[in-house]
Amino acid sequence: MYSEKVMDHFSNPRNVGELEKPSGTGMVGNPACGDIMKLTIQVEEGVVKDVKFKTFGCGAAIATSSMVTELVKGKNLDEAEKISNSTVAEALDGLPPVKMHCSNLAADALHAAIEDYKKKLAEEAAAK
């Protein structure tokens, strides 16, 4: 059912955990769907220096979470925002059709985290 890459990321997920003081946090999904992803990012000088994930979900959900952390690390925010769910699925050599929707939201989590970071930046700027 799953590609070897998916199984690799599922069995050896990269960057599991939660950053202690993240620049931004993204949480997407819902329990009805069976997938919840939480992504924390550390942004320094416009570059994603560190990233960690926690995921409740199926094999696809965990593998896409892991993959998105690999893809984004070291990228600047512009590049990071261009990472889409299909970028992630492709990097994993594809996902089963039934998994293309619900369980493929790691990029959404990333974008939510970036948004959160930007919002915080704006708030900080406004507070100054």
Binding site: V16, M37, T55, I62
Partner: protein, 388 residues
């Protein structure tokens, strides 16, 4: 790697004895049972002998049993066949929210055609309220369909009591006994059941064969029209090898039932007790006693079932999450949700369904590898942090 199979409710291996019984009907005796010449005569007899064996398992007469191609076909035949035959009498059907898709999809289809269907709720143990059933019956009710044993949880429904209610109200009663047949004693004569579905591949026979008990006098509109086979109740050249296999499987199930029940009950108790001792935050789903001897459905809080299954699979253990038939879906189990479990708990369930060849050693191996798997997956879960 050692391979351990804990998914007998999805399908069972074909027993050697069953395989041996079917071989002649694939090699030398391949005649059409409808043929009057030498090639057909032996196969006709084999079909009728097999029918008697399956009838013995259910305690019905040979005239009351037809062979089908699956449990799903049997459910369709029973429900649609009865609904169409009695549509002048009424258009109301009562079933439960926790039936197999074979029953649920059929009922949903009938709703599109103008039938009305009541889907009874179940309580947290997975059982229906018989008073609610009684109240649901109206003068337009023509059929009650309640499964014998639930495929996901193993919960056993009070078939005899339901049959009594159906009889009093003169409503036909169908039970999907696909998961019960071969695992527990069934006696249709004692049950007031009009229609009962069973399937070969759930009782150590091959896939693609099933049977439907149709009580004498119950008229159904066939779903497969054709030749005169099965006394005009189901057209199509008989699946002789499959039928013979199902006969053999039924015979073996009868022969070994007592021993198997004992064997499975011991294993199941060990599994549930051991799991509770080793893994915190779990919940065994379904009524504590009224369950099949072989089925253990366990929710592991904070983690998702499929990821547990993949981990188990990597260690050689086959189990399932929800029913095998819906494992291609992302919906949480309709059975567990109906029992009031949260979406998280429903998604986090694993069904261990045991069988003949399972051993104490296999259970112990599972109990050994499960705690670290669950721990690892929980450590990755955003839901777990809060709970600690």
């Amino acid at each position: 790697m050692n391979r351990i199979y804990f998914d007998h409710n999805a399908t069972t291996p074909v027993l050697d004895e069953v395989f041996e019984a079917m071989v002649p009907f694939l090699k030398e005796q391949w005649g059409n049972p409808s043929s009057i010449h030498w090639a057909g005569r032996g196969t006709r007899k084999a079909v009728e002998d097999a029918r008697e064996r399956v009838c013995s398992l259910l305690n019905c007469a040979p005239l009351e049993l037809i062979f089908t191609s699956s449990g799903t076909e049997g459910d369709n035949h029973a429900i649609k066949g009865l609904a169409y035959a009695q549509k002048n009498k009424g258009n109301h059907i009562i079933t439960t929210k926790v039936e197999h898709p074979a029953v649920l999809s059929t009922c949903k289809h009938l709703q599109k055609e103008g039938f009305e269907v009541t889907y009874l709720d179940v309580d947290k143990d997975g059982l229906i309220d018989l008073e609610e059933l009684k109240k649901a019956i109206t003068p337009k009710t023509i059929l009650i369909s309640v499964m014998y044993a639930n495929n996901e949880t193993g919960v056993l429904f009070p078939i005899k009591e339901i049959g009594q209610i159906a009889k009093e109200k003169s409503v036909a009663f169908h039970t999907d006994a696909v998961q019960a047949a071969g695992k527990i004693k069934i006696d249709v004569a004692d049950l007031n059941v009009d229609l009962m579905t069973i399937s070969g591949h759930k009782l150590y026979g091959p896939k693609g064969i099933g049977a439907l008990f149709i009580k004498r006098g119950t008229r159904l509109v066939p779903i497969i029209h054709g030749g005169h086979q099965e006394r005009n109740r189901r057209g199509g050249t008989e699946n002789v090898a499959g039928i013979v296999a199902m006969g053999k499987a039924a015979e073996i199930a009868m022969r070994d039932m007592e021993k198997e029940t004992e064997h499975l009950s011991v294993l199941k108790a060990r599994l549930e007790k051991g799991m509770a001792e080793r893994v915190p935050h779990i919940k065994v789903n379904g009524h504590p006693e009224r369950r099949l001897p072989n089925t253990s459905n366990i929710s592991f809080e904070f983690v998702e079932g499929e990821s547990l299954l993949l981990n188990l699979d990597m260690k050689g253990i086959a189990a399932s999450s929800g029913s095998a038939c819906t494992s291609g879906s992302l919906e949480p189990s309709h059975v567990l949700v109906s029992m009031g479990l949260s979406h998280e708990l429903s998604h986090g369930s694993v069904r261990f369904s045991l069988g003949k060849s399972n051993t104490v050693e296999e259970i112990d191996y599972l109990l050994e590898i499960m705690p670290p798997i669950v721990e690892r997956m929980r450590s990755m879960s955003p839901l777990y942090a809060g709970a600690k």
